[in-house]
């Protein structure tokens, strides 16, 4: 279980991009950078004339699927030819059959629902707490001096170290799981919000001052829009950690959920079931991340992003 602890976020203070880059394994949170050319060689305007070609539009996402597809087919072939019995590493067809079997028996939906419910609640609590405290720390320097050292100290604790305490305090059931997920989501959101507020361009705040915006108007018309891009990134990072922690929480003890499927598969020696759960985790993780991206897109149209999220 200690390997989860290694994924503990090490967000440096401030800095929206630095914040995101501190997760080298989470580069998918920077989808706008995905493009054919090396990032630094891209022009600020993507070659619009080349893009409308239908081939290019569908071929590029397909390119990413190519490698896993070839590997899967190759493995399928190896097992089919009898070169391997595929017992420990079941071929894709058997994983797929397991998923449909789980679905037909009516087990799958409750498992997915249980996990989604935990992630959703934990994410909601973590985001609310992270946003409120991050905003207070970012906006009010006295609060930052008071609050931030404590939060930073707590952040240094690997979040899974809380598990025994949470179980003692909150019981083995849902509450402790949701608390653990919320803790995982809290820190990136807190740091993201605080860093974003601290790095709002003073020059633009000055524009608000020359038009004599009141405190509230300043927040609504200057601060919120300026902070939003970094906030969305921190939400996506937080969601990624939420998915990570739901697995940890469900491995510790659960009678349903995708994490339970993992554990059950291990104990009963059903690797196909483990892989099935992993595939579903991947799909759900990508899907929920995409939902945040889509929900935020209308508010971020103004951004001068590389390649304008086309490759995403």
């Amino acid at each position: 279980m200690s390997r989860f602890a290694q994924h503990e976020p090490t967000l440096p203070l401030q800095g929206r991009v630095r914040g995101a880059l501190a997760f080298p394994d989470q580069t998918r949170f920077l989808p706008a950078m995905i493009s054919d050319a090396p990032v630094l060689q891209q022009t600020s305007e993507p070659a619009e004339s080349a893009a409308p070609s239908r081939l290019a539009r569908y071929a590029r996402p397909m390119l990413g699927i190519l490698l896993p597809l070839i590997l899967a087919l190759a493995w399928e072939l190896v097992v089919w030819l009898g070169w391997s019995n595929g017992r420990l590493v079941p071929p894709p067809s058997r994983v797929f059959a397991t998923i449909t079997e789980l679905a037909r028996s009516g087990e799958l939906v409750p498992h997915i629902a249980a996990t989604l419910w935990r992630v959703g609640l934990g994410f909601a609590f973590g985001v609310i707490a992270g946003t409120v405290l991050g905003a207070i720390s970012g906006y009010w320097s006295l609060a930052r001096r008071l609050l931030d050292p404590t939060v930073q100290a707590l952040r240094a604790i690997p979040s899974l170290a809380w598990v025994p305490l949470f179980i003692l305090w909150l019981g083995i059931f849902e509450t402790s799981k949701i608390a653990l997920i919320a803790v995982g989501v809290f820190f990136p959101v807190y740091l993201g919000v605080m860093g974003a507020i601290l790095s709002v361009d003073r020059k633009i705040v000055e524009v608000g001052r020359t038009f004599r915006l009141s405190g509230f108007a300043m927040i609504r018309r200057i601060l919120l829009p300026a902070v939003l891009p970094a906030y969305v990134v921190s939400l996506r990072v937080g969601l990624g950690l939420g998915w990570m922690f739901v697995v940890a929480a469900e491995l510790i003890g659960a009678s349903e959920g995708l994490g339970y499927l993992l554990l059950d598969g291990q104990q009963l020696g059903k690797p196909a079931q483990i892989l099935a759960a992993i595939v579903i985790f991947a799909i759900l993780g990508k899907l929920t991340d995409w939902l945040i991206e889509v929900a935020a897109a209308p508010f971020l149209r103004w951004q001068d992003a590389f390649g304008r999220a086309k490759g995403a």
């Binding site: 020059k203 633009i204 000055e206 524009v207 001052r209 018309r221 939003l228 508010f299 149209r301 103004w302």
Partner: protein, 261 residues
């Protein structure tokens, strides 16, 4: 009338940026402020804008003391400082939030047409050239119809052609409502083209050194001998303000030398 009475500014780090600066500027007058780098020009402008308060002395507009940003005073910075999340039209209307939407739209449309960017109303700021962006900034500052417009090196980041274009444009816009213009510049040419009066400042601590009235009608011919004369007297004063010897004739000719930094 805008009255500056012994305005001084000492920054918390002890730098005395401005010492007893006094001047009176008539309504509708165009004043250029010129001086060596670090002589307190920006500090002065920010004090007039109410963005920073003076350590001593007073700024009064029509006998009203200015201590914080005022509705009758607008400012344009060296960078356009457009809000990247608002369209060009919404940027221009930023200071008109109190007006009913219809009236705001109409004023914005008129301002857009006036600065020649009607076709860019729905563009994002990042899609504008530097000159276009600065025109939007000018429109944004002018559309609430300030009585005083402060400009801190507004054209210094632009190429010579665009700069000239915008100087003419600014005079054009100024003629609509004739606000008081106070323009900080590094460009002697720009000062003489635009200003009724040039104030020369001297550094350490920043203070008023000299005033030169530019008694030229408008529009001004940048190539006339009279224009050259005014340029030379501004340059001479500037050089004396920096304790340098008056340069020889050749050095003050040619457009390249007009930008003396």
């Amino acid at each position: 009338m805008l009255a500056l009475d012994r305005v001084s500014k000492t920054y918390p780090n002890g730098v005395q940026a401005l010492a007893r600066f006094s001047a009176e500027i008539k309504q509708g007058e165009i004043v250029a402020i010129i001086g060596g780098s670090g002589c307190g020009k920006s500090t002065l402008l920010r004090a007039i804008a109410g963005l920073d308060s003076a350590s001593a002395g007073t700024v009064t507009l029509d006998s009203e003391a200015i201590g914080s940003p005022h509705a009758k005073i607008g400012i344009i910075f060296q960078e356009p400082r457009l809000l990247p999340w608002l369209s060009v039209a919404d940027n221009i209307g930023f200071g008109l939030a109190d007006l009913p939407a219809a009236e705001r739209r109409e004023k914005v449309a008129r301002a857009l047409a006036r600065v020649g960017l009607a076709d860019k109303a729905q563009a994002w700021p990042r899609e504008l050239s530097g000159g276009q962006a600065q025109r939007v900034a000018i429109a944004r500052a002018l559309v609430p119809q300030p009585e005083v417009l402060l400009l801190d090196e507004p054209f210094s980041a632009l190429d010579a052609f665009t700069r000239r274009d915008l100087q003419d444009h600014l005079l054009d816009l100024w003629a609509d409502t004739r606000p008081t213009l106070i323009l900080v510049t590094h460009d002697v040419d720009e000062a003489v083209v635009l200003a009724d009066r040039v104030l020369v400042m001297r550094p350490r601590p920043g203070r008023l050194f000299d005033q030169i009235e530019i008694n030229l009608g408008r529009p001004r011919d940048r190539n006339s001998p009279l224009f050259e004369n005014f340029k030379r007297s501004v340059l001479t004063s500037l050089d004396r303000s920096l304790d340098r010897n008056v340069p020889d004739r050749d050095a003050t000719q040619g457009p390249g030398q007009a930008m003396w930094w």
